[in-house]
């Protein structure tokens, strides 16, 4: 007898009951203001992950040692942002209720709001570490408030002042940068200041949201609004490791890979490796 065709991110094939971290994909890109296509990211990442080894020579651990489950992609009603967010929140609720950690693969960055709504319901107080090239702090974009350009502003409405810590930001309006001075902890261009931030947040609850365009477009060209002057791959790995091994991670997401723009496949490979390294940090000795 033959089995059904199960497809997961490499090494994330444990049973649901025993899993500690649960992946899922949120294939949504309807509010993308420029080049759409991130909806194909989670599928591309799963397929491409088989070009990767499960072993990390950086941390000398193997994905197979972890307890990871990939629950596949949500089927999202493209074209209605509110319904899409509800669908994401519902999935994260289930994962949280089952005592597991949600790990979402976007999609455009707006999907983070769906996840944060569930997180905020469960955890009274938590911080967000936000790696991105863009501030995403607009009040609205041409009158639309549910937009990838406003997602961190919407999250701020849920988490409050001084709970969001941005790093790598190098694009935004003047207003966004001024607003951030009052309400969030903005670090421009790179990871300067991360070590201090992490040592302050040590042991506290942290949600990590990674917009992969924080990386320099030389290493990550496959994204809709590339911003030159970003961080290197090894800098991102170090930063993630710093955060994930020092804080209590209550959820995370990785966003904004746009496979149609990734002709050579290198950006998808980078996304896979970032995810592998983040997952491996969940493995405790």
């Amino acid at each position: 007898m033959l089995n059904k065709n199960v497809v997961t991110f490499i090494g994330c094939d444990k049973e649901y009951e025993e899993a500690e971290v649960v992946l899922f994909g949120a294939p949504f890109d309807s509010t993308t203001s420029y080049r759409p296509g991130t909806r194909f990211a989670s599928q591309a990442i799963r397929n491409e992950s088989y070009g990767l080894e499960t072993y990390s020579p950086y941390k000398e651990k193997d994905l197979e040692e972890g307890k990871f489950f990939d629950s596949g992609d949500l089927e999202l009603p493209i074209g209605d942002s509110e319904k899409v967010l509800d669908s994401i929140t519902e999935r994260v609720n289930i994962i949280l209720e089952d005592g597991k950690i949600p790990f979402m693969i976007g999609g455009e960055h707006l999907v983070t709001l769906g996840s944060i709504r569930a997180i905020a319901k469960k955890h009274e107080e938590f911080h967000m570490i936000h790696f991105d090239a863009h501030a995403d702090l607009r009040e609205d974009y041409l009158g639309v408030t549910l937009s990838h350009a406003s997602v961190l502003r919407r999250c701020w409405e849920l988490v409050g002042d001084n709970k969001i810590h941005h790093f790598g930001i190098r694009s935004g309006t003047k207003e966004e940068f001024l607003w951030a001075k009052i309400h969030t902890n903005m670090h421009k261009f790179n990871f300067d200041g991360l070590r201090e931030t992490v040592s302050r947040l040590k042991g506290q609850k942290v949600y990590v949201t990674v917009d992969l365009d924080v990386l320099d477009p030389s290493i990550f060209p496959g994204t809709g609004t590339p911003e030159a002057g970003g961080v290197s791959f090894l800098e991102l790995l170090d930063a993630l490791h710093l955060v994930m091994s020092n804080c209590e991670i209550i959820g995370c997401d990785v966003n904004e890979l746009c496979p149609p723009l990734d002709i050579s496949g290198t950006s998808t490979a980078v996304a896979c490796k970032v995810i592998r390294e983040m997952l491996i940090d969940f493995i405790k000795e």
Copy 2:
């Protein structure tokens, strides 16, 4: 002194006051269920149109003889379909109020609804000729009623039974085909029956909506949901000429070119030529 940089579809550079037909672009693709990117079509079509001659050897007329004005692209609030449709309706209202004919370049097919809302306000009764590979007659798509998969269903709510005449349809659910049997005039696969339809509609008010994926993907690969088994370019030209020279055209649109999928540029060139030939039919001897 130097002038500002005006960019129009080739040969559409008359003054607004004297124009008979007014083009505009509706760069929207948020409800696209599969591969997005049609938002770039109107801009690509304008740029590519300069690879075209203004003269049609088919009809032995020249765009320069016509009275065409290109009013550029709408700035649309990507991510909120209702607001997008309002913005389109508003533009078409202006064009109609000024006694001119609107010619919209999409964008995904949902944009047609914005135009039809304005048309239906001005004209009590009219027909729609619909060239497409897809029926676009779903009640909703995953609960979303404003969707490119439902656009003709939404139009039907405005124009009523037996007013929509589909040609070339070769994809849809069983339900759509059954529903069409009752409410619209469905012609599958090709233009069989068009001559009869046109002779019945002779002199009546007709809105023409062209989803370019009615063409076979061999000649029009640059679209999000290509459906093999379509009509040839010359068949489409003939069909359009038949309609446009025999009916009273009160508006038209051309949709679903997806430039990111059109690497070689041939699909954009096809779109340009379809538009040129449609425009030239507005020139009366």
Copy 3:
């Protein structure tokens, strides 16, 4: 509780026990003499199939009415053709032993040999209908006998004279065409003669092998060795329908889609539709 991520060709999600037709992928392309990449076809076809409707307006049936199961891709030892063929034969053996019909998605055309080895063990006598642009009848290719250029020659060694019926062939060496005159039934360029062949084979056991490059490259550019002058999509549908509704089909395969060459996605969409239409012919009223 969340489920594992099962990925199938659209509409092929019945339980194995009740299935009549069992799909599987053979992601192999090591003997490809020119542009490799067909190894990615089965995965691309599964993913892309969701851009397709399950309903066929041609036959007015729906995939959901059939009993189809997709058993996923074989994990093949790239680089060792003999082992790869063994692996295919083993899968087909299981399917045949369970009383079901194998439907293989290649891969390069050599994979057909793995399937035919299993078929020939079970069925003493049967015919092969072969749609292709290339004869694939070389004795060897630079000394290599297990090659996509020799696959029908290897099959002939198993099925014998006058059992292979080629259609659409428009490329080969002089020797291949001369050899075919003696041992097989060669029809060059198109489907002329198919009606006669099918009426002779009516009710007999037939294995159908479709090299998609039988299609004209205008509609199917995404293949390694495109040969202009091929058949149209509708001609292929008719030919397949003729064969599949008149003969007793004991197995089939569809090969030579090369996704890396299919930038616009149209060739993959064509492959999906060919497979849908072949599957739908298995649904009996």
Copy 4:
């Protein structure tokens, strides 16, 4: 001892002394008004020709039976059209002086003028058969008289009235079509009238110039200014065979493949097959 790396069009590897037809490449595209890149055509055609068989199932002959020599590409001073044309004329002069037939692979269409200058010096009177989508009969293009848009006009200055026979033309200015009515034999859209033309020219000296964009872009997308509504591949083969087997061919060229636009490689494969079939017509029983 090892040999130098000789690269020719497939099957064109006879010694120069015995050759009847001599190929060469003219990698030039400086006057291209739209998308450049044809300069890479001759090299791409040579490389890609190894995906082709030397045997033609259409004519049941083999390139190996002919006497063909490939003399490689000219090194052209990109940026100075007059010098480029001199360089081409010089190469054709040598070939003609050695009693052989020149077969040039462009490049953009202006290269034909370089060849015709040499031909016109040797042959007092001859005809030109011109297959193209574009008339190429402008007096000048923005004041530039040496342009791909004017090349047939420049040739006309050398060969005189009623010596140029165009087929397939479906793009040009009104002026070009009017001018052609007086000075050349213009056949629009397809090969209608070719049989009559050939029977009038039977046995006369004919130079054949093929702009591959005469083909429909569905089968030949890889060209700078694609014009929908063209001829099919088999129609072109028939037309070429008609001309080449009935007239005395004194030279020919094949132009306007643009490899950077031919992502899938099918257009280059088409160009190779057109050249193979033209060459094979030089083989007499």
Copy 5:
């Protein structure tokens, strides 16, 4: 009433009369010795600039604060370099006569000569700062003296010894490097020595010509002759800022983006950001 479709580089929409800096495009690439396509750069840059913010977080200023006008692209007689240069010189003359600063977007690097001819007529003495991977100092290229490979040599004929300061050069013939030792100030590989150069030129008239291939191909792959080993994006920003804020800038140009090679769009985005940052340096507190 509707307006014409005006398209400018983002934030460059002031009235001509008040403008201090006037942009224009020079879409020319006929002498490109390798991969052409830079003619599409100025159009691509305008379109892509809308993916950019007008605010620079590096300099904390906004394009909207400046007085910039975009006068669109020249219509250039492709194929005749001398006429093309005349056309550029004429446009720069107008800008200079109106007391404004010309900012040209190429095109291939030869366009700089057209600009320098106008500059040299107005300013008796000035320096050129030249950022490039290539020396561009050949006497000629295959006998052609008006070539992108010779453009700085032609400029030198107008500005004289020790007036041209090259940085980043990492490709050229031995002769070019030897010649440069006598006539210009050559700095190989990077910006070492720029600070000294700028402090010597402080307050003097300087024309800045940026061949974007001075950037490493990792961040700027979309160019015709990529040369590994280049400078980083942030190094280029710093270098430009150093020059533009310390010298009296009398004109500048940015060249050699080749959009057809920029599949992911990142190189065009880089070009846009370089232009934004250069423009912002014209805004004085």
Copy 6:
């Protein structure tokens, strides 16, 4: 009289008799476990090398000063790894017997084994310097022992313990890294330790094998299994120069460029420059 079309890597056009270094191509990729296409590398590198200067500004020498011969590509029986390796070994044998140094351009990395078999027959003892992102030390890959994933393990069987020195390795299984600790000298991630290794090997016989994916994918995206976190182009140049100017080089190869993934052409240009710089190190003052 016209000559045959000889195509070589730029500047490698000396006569065989006088040559010191002999290049050849090994267009093979049948065991590639992920994205195939390296078979096109040697041809692409030759063609692209004409975009390069023969002069190195880094070493201030010119390829023309060297004695280099390019013997073209092997015709390899794709699909049979053992025969392919024999064919490579035979070519290297000839080169070695003629007292010259072999310089192979792959292809996938397995081709190195063919070369090492010939080298090991001639030289009793020698070292291998191995630059790569991947360890390539698996015992087998799904049971296949002749695989690009096992090639260094197969070489080790010929050269023995402590003769292979890896640098840049950042991907492999846990087992490979453990095995390497015992049998080879493994340096992870970068060139740390190279200076010490070279000083120990000074004057000894060394074979250099470069898998170009040792480079960071930002500068070398055109490869089948890109691994972020690699070395920079200038680091690779320095490392190669260190090795090649201090050891006695008895052979070398450069592998794993995959042209179909190198849309912009930058990776091919990088490969060309690496080869030029390696060749130039063979020129002694």
